[in-house]
Assembly symmetry: C2
Homo-oligomer: 148 residues x 2
Amino acid sequence: MQNSEAMALSAALLAVAGGLTQRIHEGVLARGFEGVRPAHGFAFARLAPDGATATDLAAHLGVTKQAASQLVDEMVRKGYAERRPHPEDARARLVVLTERGWACTRAAEEAAAEAVREWGDLLGEREVRALGRQLLRIAPRGPIRPAW
Amino acid sequence: MQNSEAMALSAALLAVAGGLTQRIHEGVLARGFEGVRPAHGFAFARLAPDGATATDLAAHLGVTKQAASQLVDEMVRKGYAERRPHPEDARARLVVLTERGWACTRAAEEAAAEAVREWGDLLGEREVRALGRQLLRIAPRGPIRPAW
DNA sequence: CCAAGTGGTCAAGTAGCTTGACCATATAGT
DNA sequence: ACTATATGGTCAAGCTACTTGACCACTTGG
């Protein structure tokens, strides 16, 4: 495969990712959740199962713990998360989603599903599933860097 | 397709895009081009064929013309681009890549090809080509937003 | 030929990150 | 058990890539 081909693939991938991000962001906004930025979505994803500490979040997002802490401040201030004492470590605080945080997460899922459904119209559902499988196989492990 | 499925697909897509961006960035750095940020790559892509005005660039990147102009300042200062008088409009300035700018573009292509080649190892070249075709078909038209 | 539109710049403000210093609690070594 | 080091978190200050707003130079259209 030629370099220019790889570049075309990369450009398409980044364009799709950028478009999807914006679609989700707009969809969440349209469902009445204001003051949420795309970066919050990645935080929500980490908090969703059982909560996490600010330092966990920092590692997951690839930022400093101070930045993660500021992000948590903001989510708390806007009612999407709350800090609880950590059950096993008196230094730490467990950050968990509030009910509003869960609702916002569901809104993001709906918005994502909406965008993906349009892909289905273009490619067929079978191809979209194949796309998902391929992407899962090449997805990197490390932190999800929400910026470029 | 369920919402959670769409979310998993979305997460994988964004993870792959983030990883690819980082890979390209590191590859460009490793080839000796310093002080280049991922956002520059999108600018280079727009400048590559025949140059562009700062306002064109702004529209392409989805930022204000002031921000685009600052980006051009930086690229000029670092030797990747230069401003020339516009042949048809005395108000405008045509921004074109320098030889170093072209070299940096080629470095980015090589880095991208390296990452894509690894996908080929995982999926097979046939599947990677299919991936490229699918992504091209669902890629949005508008500006490429280099941030989320 | 003048009015409105467009490309570009200057200046100031903002938001989200960084680095650096610090405290409180936990964990490991002797 | 006691100290030394590591770790979770916070406070404070600074940086940088963006924004908004005002403005000038040139172009375009009635």
